[in-house]
């Protein structure tokens, strides 16, 4: 922040899937809090965490999964006690609109389903959820060879949208964006609820403002915006 302007700036490192909703929330937050400017750094959760671990000057860290936040907490990168959950999501099975092959989880085993897109369980949160579900259903071992692991949930969505795969696992919010190209076959209940945590970064120099932003995420205004993009209440 430059000393010349009275404006303080907070930098929010947020998961890529929050891009549209957070941009909107940022605007409405700024309206409510004159003198505060919110900037965003959108990327996959993995890089965001690495950046924070290496001392990136972020003030707020909004992750798409609990595990990354756990790591951040364990590493001492976030302010203890500042962590809250602000949104929820759900896992859905989708298929291209013009491909009627898949009607439920059970169809995935069929020979007519050659490829299934999902996030990479090793690095993408949605992939971890998907893998857990499939393992619990006893489908993982059969389906794993068919699975195409995207580096991001968006990549999995892309494959489904372009009809390169017969089915895919993404978040409900992603499916909502591509409503005209993909069809939601089923919502898949997950063991652990899919909730997005947010926290103040330990190295932040604007801790109060950061805290204010986090609080704002729980406000009705912010929740309305999040709902608009398909997010659930935490």
């Amino acid at each position: 922040a430059s000393p010349a302007s009275a404006e303080t700036e907070i930098l929010v490192s947020a998961a890529a899937s929050l891009t549209e909703s957070f941009k909107e929330i940022g605007k409405s937050f700024a309206e409510k809090n004159p003198g505060v400017k919110v900037s965003f750094n959108f990327a996959a959760t993995g890089p965001l965490l690495q950046q924070i671990a290496q001392g990136a000057p972020a003030d707020v860290f909004a992750s798409a999964d609990q595990e990354s936040m756990d790591k951040a907490e364990k590493g001492g990168f976030i302010l203890p006690g500042s962590r809250i959950n602000f949104a929820g999501n759900s896992l859905v099975l989708i298929a291209p609109v013009n491909m009627p092959v898949v009607t439920g989880l059970g169809d995935l085993k069929s020979g007519r389903v050659q490829k299934i897109a999902m996030g990479n369980p090793e690095s993408v949160p949605v992939g971890r959820y998907t893998k857990a579900v499939l393992e619990k259903q006893g489908l993982w071992d059969t389906l794993a060879p068919k699975c195409v692991m995207g580096i991001s949930v968006k990549q999995a969505l892309e494959y489904v949208m372009r009809g390169e795969v017969e089915a895919g696992f993404v978040y409900a919010t992603d499916a909502a964006v591509a409503r005209d190209k993909v069809r939601v076959v089923a919502e898949i209940p997950t063991d652990k609820a899919i909730v997005y945590p947010v926290a103040v970064v330990a190295g932040s120099v604007n801790k109060e403002k950061a805290q204010a932003f986090i609080q704002y995420l729980r406000s009705p205004e912010a929740q309305t915006i999040l709902a608009k993009y398909g997010f659930k209440k935490p």
């Binding site: 993995g46 993408v124 699975c147 692991m149 580096i151 372009r162």
Partner: protein
Amino acid sequence: MPDLTPLWLTLRIASFATAIAFVFAVGFAWLTARFSFWGRDFLDAILTLPLVMPPTVLGYYLIVVWGRNGWLGSWLNAHFGISLMFTWQGAVVAATVVSFPLLFKSARAAFEGVSTEYEQAARILGDTELQVFFRITLPLAVRGLLAGTMLAFARAMGDFGATLMVAGNIEGKTQTAAMAVFDAVQAGDYTLANTLVAIMSVVCVTILVMTNKLANRGRAGR
């Protein structure tokens, strides 16, 4: 010791991609280096463009073209029943596209550095244009070509975004070393990441050093 399948796959993909890129790059480079035609600089710039695109974006366009429903891909699928998506051949296509500009530019500069006098001498000695090219131009441009080939090979080995998009990241089938490293870094498994990077580096350095040595051995005076 981590699983080395991705490494072999990477080497195979990179080799094929470099070979294909070589043929096209040398062809275009020769064309632009030896003939002056309208729009030559423009063609040159267009052929360099793949370098400017973020690989993932390039991958996206590759799917649009080569995907099962892409305009070239659907034709391939309809007439030959083949699809490049999620196959290592698809990875080759992606790696070829990303490494092509490197070879093309190097080759063009190399060809332009060959004195036309030698080519003229060869013509008088009875060579056709094709013979001139293979017996004189190509061998005399060998340093630049080699540098370009090594760049292209390294780039093809390291490509991640475009390859991933086209070939998917299917373990044991299309997962390349770059993807494995990426996964490890993403997953925060730095020990694995470092090991993989170390192995990749050693392999790559070995290949580069050996190529250099071979090239120097086979090189003529001057």
